[in-house]
């Protein structure tokens, strides 16, 4: 007790009350209120984050043309409207084409790079990482418009290729970092053992490395798929009437009028995402998914 308050290594001391003091009651009271305030705040943020999903789902079952919340009557007419619409069906097809293409491209590029980067020294590794991640930081508008004019030179604007390329700009860095994280948990001795027993590097990868980073590869592919499905800004620039994806069509519909079919589309999109996240968590574990991305 006579030693005084504990001091930190850099000499800054802190006055700490030890034991109950006359002000302890109010201090603890304040802390308790603080805790509840904190919890309420976090709860609000959580509600805030999930609100779009809820809203969109609810409005999609409304009956009238006016988007209101809560809807007056419950009806599935907008779902029927969606299924009948050729515009939306085309958009769905385009989205799927783009998503599959992106998944393949991003997973391959991301995995090979993650494998290759392991052997590089510090500085080279940093450079590759930087280059891989850089597209994520450039505003989507800039990426979109640069791709638009560049591919336009070759007559490739508004093609599926353009859309896949744009989506992969985003998906590849994510796939790369997920596979990298998965690889870091992989015991390099296993690969050495395979080589030692006569496997060539390719066979070692196929027989020993890939099966053990399966969950990472799966997560990477999943993320690439979902990223592609919901990418909007770049796609707005590079896609055309024939190749536009669901988010772009939704946007256009929204700009013009509050078309309730948009709610339907959004709900379905959200369902796909929820499904993907659930599947992903089951395979990899939600915490790891969150930590890797």
């Amino acid at each position: 007790m006579s030693e005084g308050p504990p001091t930190r290594a850099d000499g800054a001391g802190e006055t700490v009350e030890s034991g109950p003091t006359p002000t302890a009651g109010s201090r603890f009271g304040r802390v308790a209120v603080g805790t509840w305030l904190f919890r309420a705040g976090v709860g609000t943020v959580f509600a805030f984050l999930l609100a779009p999903i809820v809203i969109v789902a609810v409005t999609s079952f409304g009956d009238s043309m006016v988007l209101s919340l809560p809807p007056e009557t419950f009806s599935t007419r907008w779902y029927e409207s969606f299924l009948d619409s050729s515009r939306w069906q085309r958009a769905t097809r385009n989205s799927l084409i783009a998503a599959v293409g992106t998944t393949v491209l991003a997973t391959v590029a991301g995995t090979t790079a993650a494998l290759g980067v392991r052997n590089l020294g510090g500085r080279a590794e940093g450079a590759v990482l930087g280059l891989a991640v850089l597209p994520l930081l450039v505003p989507g508008v800039v990426l979109g418009s640069s791709l638009l004019v560049f591919l336009g030179e070759f007559g490739l604007q508004q093609t599926y290729l353009a859309v896949i390329a744009a989506h992969s700009l985003w998906a590849t860095p994510l796939a790369f970092s997920v596979v990298r994280a998965s690889l870091s948990r992989f015991d390099p001795r296993l690969r050495e053992a395979a080589l030692d027993l006569g496997a060539s590097p390719t066979r070692a990868f196929v027989e020993v490395v890939a099966p053990n980073i399966r969950s990472g590869l799966f997560a990477a592919a999943l993320i690439a798929f979902v990223v592609s499905l919901q990418e909007f800004v770049m796609t707005l620039f590079v896609s055309g009437r024939d190749t536009r994806t669901i988010p772009v069509l939704a946007w256009n519909s929204l700009r013009n009028s509050l078309d309730p079919v948009v709610s339907v589309v959004s709900t379905l999109l959200v369902l796909v995402v929820v499904l993907a996240v659930v599947v992903g968590s089951l395979v990899v574990g939600l915490e790891r998914l969150a930590a890797d991305t």
């Binding site: 015991d187 001795r189 053992a193 395979a194 030692d196 027993l197 496997a199 099966p211």
Partner: protein, 399 residues
């Protein structure tokens, strides 16, 4: 005798750090060769260089007559048993063992049959379809061994495979490995930091320190005739006394021979050592007094202790200093500072009266141990000719 592995002037560097320097050794057919040394001495790097996971900056690696220095691991005819076994978790036991043959293109039925044979050799025949995760440490170790043997390697490389096991299991496995090695006559290079293990297993030992191979020989030779202070200190517990050469000249007993006078301030003694080694006054000299050559007895003196039990070896009173030219025995007195009971043996720490009061330790098996307790006065003596001396650079000085 055919040489299976030959390393010639191998040097391995990691940037600034030199892991292995100028190392040359050869392993003969059918022998179990142990690379022994403390952590960081380069023994694992040496093993990995033989296997092909490290590339030497200079030097050659020759396996069974073929120079393999630039070849990848999968092109070399050796197999490794890793310290943590590295069994493929996504394959069953039999798939693990058959892996090497699969890579060689052997058909499925045939390689599974061969794998079964190898599993039988290591007595794991019932575990074919188990996954590695379900096995215990000792079992995994056996599978790793079987997997390596299954590729019929020219030489088997083992990187401290037993260090993750508890003591009793380790000792059992040592004997099993030795047995397998003798039966199959497969040459093995075995890396360990455990001197007892090396002595149990090895036909020959190579002691390494700081990237260098200090000494190579069969266990008895290396133990009886260490060439370096490091080897001596690593191979057993000894009492090291530092000394300084204070004079040199002709041996008083035989003037045709040269001798040096050495002072050991730690025990306050000065002796003469006949040696042709060319030491000059001012040189450092270290003496290694092995506990087994030290005679220990309670000394009848100022504070009598209970005389019951214990054997009395030599009761003649001797002075602390030895006449340089008379006897060949060093005799010292001191007091017991600590008695450590170690199960089947007892270790006595004795503070020497004279000089700077160095502390010497003597170990006796329980049946031969004198009945001493802390504070008792004792006498220590030993034959100076049985002491190992090492010069300023650590090299052995023969007396």
């Amino acid at each position: 005798m055919r040489t299976v592995v030959e390393l010639d002037g191998v040097r391995v560097e990691y940037g600034e750090l030199v892991a292995v320097r100028d190392l040359s050794l050869s392993v003969r057919d059918g022998e179990l060769f142990c690379l022994l040394g403390p952590s960081g001495c380069g023994k694992t790097t040496t093993l990995r260089t033989i296997a092909g996971f490290e590339s030497p900056d200079t030097g050659q690696v020759v396996l069974d007559g073929r120079t393999v220095t630039s070849l990848a691991p999968y092109a070399r005819d050796c197999a490794t048993v890793f310290q943590d076994w590295a069994l493929f978790p996504n394959k069953t036991v039999i798939e693990n063992v058959a892996f090497g043959q699969k890579m060689a293109g052997v058909g499925k039925a045939k390689r599974r049959d061969q794998a079964r044979d190898h599993l039988k050799t290591v007595e794991m025949g019932d575990y074919e379809d188990t996954r590695p995760a379900e096995l215990s440490g000792g079992q995994k170790q056996r599978i790793a061994l079987a997997r390596a043997l299954a590729v019929d390697p020219d030489v088997l490389l083992l990187d401290e495979p037993l260090s993750n096991l508890d003591k009793r299991l380790r000792e059992t496995m040592q004997l099993e490995i030795k047995d397998i090695q003798e039966r199959l006559n497969t040459p093995m290079v075995y890396v360990t930091h455990d001197q007892e293990e090396a002595f149990t297993l090895a036909d020959r030992i190579g002691v390494m320190n700081n990237g260098r191979l200090m000494q190579v020989g069969d266990p008895e030779t290396v133990y009886d005739d260490p060439v370096d202070e490091f080897v001596e200190s690593f191979l057993g517990n000894s009492n090291f006394l530092s000394g300084r050469v204070v004079g040199s000249g002709a041996d008083r007993r035989d003037t045709a021979r040269r001798a040096v006078t050495v002072e050991f301030p730690g025990v306050g003694a000065q002796i003469q050592i006949a040696t042709e080694s060319g030491l000059t006054p001012g040189d450092d000299l270290t003496a290694s007094v092995r506990p087994e050559i030290v005679e220990l007895s309670p000394s009848p003196g100022e504070t009598p202790t209970s005389p019951d039990g214990g054997t009395q070896e030599g009761t003649a009173e001797r002075r602390a200093d030895v006449e340089p030219d008379t006897t060949n025995r060093m005799a010292l007195t001191g007091a017991v500072s600590d008695v450590v009971y170690r199960g089947s043996s007892i270790r006595y720490q004795v503070d020497i009266d004279t000089g700077e009061g160095a502390e010497l330790s003597v170990e006796r098996s329980v049946t031969r141990a004198p009945d001493l307790s802390t504070g008792d006065r004792v006498q220590l003596s030993w034959d100076t000719a049985a002491v190992y001396y090492f010069g300023p650079d650590g090299a052995r000085v023969r007396a």
